[in-house]
Amino acid sequence: MRSEATLGLKIAAVAGLLFLHLPILLIFVYAFTTEDRSYQWPPPGLTLQWFGVTWNRPDVWEALGLSLRVAAVSTLIALVLGTLCAAAVARSRFFGREAVSLLVILPIALPGIITGISLRSAFSLADIPFSFWTIVLGHATFCIVVVYNNAVARFRRTSGSLIEASMDLGATYFQTFRHVILPNIATALLAGGMLAFALSFDEVIVTTFTAGQQQTLPIWMLEELVRPRQRPVTNVVAMVVVLVTFLPILGAYYLTRGTETVAGQGK
């Protein structure tokens, strides 16, 4: 039975959605404002000049490049380790399996600040200087979780007899992986990888503790807000960040939607 929503409920819903999304639109609007010191409403005038200014700022390019490289490498590491871990947990029984499963998921439940502080003190204890790799390591902790969660769900839905069937038909372990396992988990990996990439790309807290003097894009933006200099540049960059993170998440959503028939057929 469908029931008609009351007027009050409709208004509340619209108000809720506006509250969630209007601020994001404001960010976009301020990217075009002619005023560069404070965010004044309504904008005194509209201009496209900030896009050009942003384009010519080397610090933006540096931060963007670092963020993209960190996100790419973290995602890659997460894809390999997350998939292996998911395969082990979903496919075999061993002592401490549930504990491993919990420990892998823990970093995403743990506040980022805890992860950050603990990594920082670990790095200083081990005398590891901050570098590209310390950031990647920090990001990989939560990127693995996303990949793992996606992969483990798919592994569980994929009938175990598929692997046996493949080997029964003459395929070696490697051939089975390439022709049966990979096609069945590919969309889950793609979705997990995209989410991991998006998470890494806009991560601030863990990065603050593991980056040292380096600036990823979110950290650069944070610094930029403190110094009121060509403020709309931040808004232009914010638009780019929204696009770069939103598109993969949208893609992941469409990829994992309606995949009930992809795996776990048979019963």
Partner: protein
């Protein structure tokens, strides 16, 4: 030279920790046989099949295929193929690609693959279904695809794990006939696992009855049905009456448990007396539960014969030849 058996188990055991899934199994399955592994769930029959396929390794003992030791061979190096209980069709591949999978792995060319897969699908009456996805097929059709996929590689032994378990009764009976006909035409060894004694009796050349990881009896359907060697076989195959050794001793002078088929008991005449405790109409016959001095007996009264009421005292008897004394079994 006598032909080597298709499958030869020699003192094979498979233990999972303290659980003895298969214990001390020595068994020969001949070439071209339709061989059933029959038993309740957990009896070790499926483990036995998986040992032949190579998914399990024996804890002790050896397995030979056509006289060649196969104990340590991985599944992909054995001349056997399996039809899985849940069919295990690859969901991401079309029906044709499913059937051609083994050929692709073996390195056959595209044209040969298509031709052979097409022929295999024709053989199971699924010609023209090649482009569909497994998800678009019914249970019976999926089962045929699984069959075609296993047979296209021309295995020397075909293993079937409860192949008809997921099908409804009508389809199951039809597939029983088709499997039997297929096996006769191909002439290869079929080893199939089932918990359905009717299926095992009607389809197989020989049956091995499993209980608790051990083979209770190996023999033709007639032998297993008419001359069960243990009380378990008597009860599991055809729900026979197991008479206690004392009663058999009184009747025949031989002190061992006896097996008596329900349809062999005649009500109305005979030496023994019993009270009717229950009756159930089955269609072609009526099942009557009897209590003869503390021994529970089941009789089948064919349609058209008088059926006594519950609580009634009746006389009963049987042809002495129908009572099979299980000499080898204990009390």
């Amino acid at each position: 030279m006598a032909a080597e058996p298709a499958v030869a188990f020699r003192s094979v055991a498979r233990h999972y920790g303290p659980v003895r899934a298969v214990d001390d199994l020595t068994l020969d399955i001949g070439e071209g046989e339709f061989f059933a592994l029959l038993g309740p769930s957990g009896s070790g029959k499926t483990t036995c099949l998986r040992l032949i396929a190579g998914f399990e390794r024996p804890t002790t003992g050896t397995i030979a295929l056509f006289g060649k030791d196969a104990t340590g061979l991985p599944p992909y190096r054995r001349p056997v193929n399996t039809v899985f209980q849940d069919y295990a069709l690859f969901p991401h591949l079309s029906v044709e690609d499913n059937v051609a999978y083994g050929l692709m792995i073996a390195g056959e060319g595209r044209a040969a693959r298509r031709r052979k897969a097409g022929e295999a699908l024709e053989m199971v009456a699924l010609g023209g279904y090649g482009m569909r996805k497994p998800a678009e097929l019914s249970g019976g059709q999926r089962q045929r695809v699984a069959l075609a996929r296993a047979l296209v590689l021309q295995p020397q032994v075909l293993l079937l794990d409860e192949p008809l378990g997921a099908l409804d009764l009508k389809l199951r009976e039809q597939m029983q006939g088709e499997l039997k006909a297929l096996q006769r035409r191909l002439g290869i060894t079929f080893v199939f696992v089932t918990h359905d004694q009717g299926e095992a009796l009607s389809m197989s050349d020989r049956i091995a009855v499993f209980d608790k990881g051990r083979v209770q009896q190996v023999g033709s359907p007639e032998a297993v049905y008419d001359r069960p060697e243990t009380p378990f076989v008597a009860d599991f195959v055809g729900a026979s009456n197991v008479l206690p050794a004392a009663m058999v001793a009184r009747l025949t002078g031989r002190a061992a448990p006896g097996s008596l088929r329900p349809e062999a008991i005649r009500l109305g005449t005979g030496e023994m007396r019993a009270r009717v405790t229950e009756r159930a109409f089955l269609g072609s016959a009526t099942r009557v539960e009897l209590d003869a001095d503390g021994t529970e007996l089941t009789a089948l009264v064919p349609k058209g014969h008088a059926v006594p009421e519950v609580g009634e005292e009746v006389r009963l008897g049987w042809d002495p030849a129908a009572l099979h004394v299980m000499e080898g079994a204990h009390g």
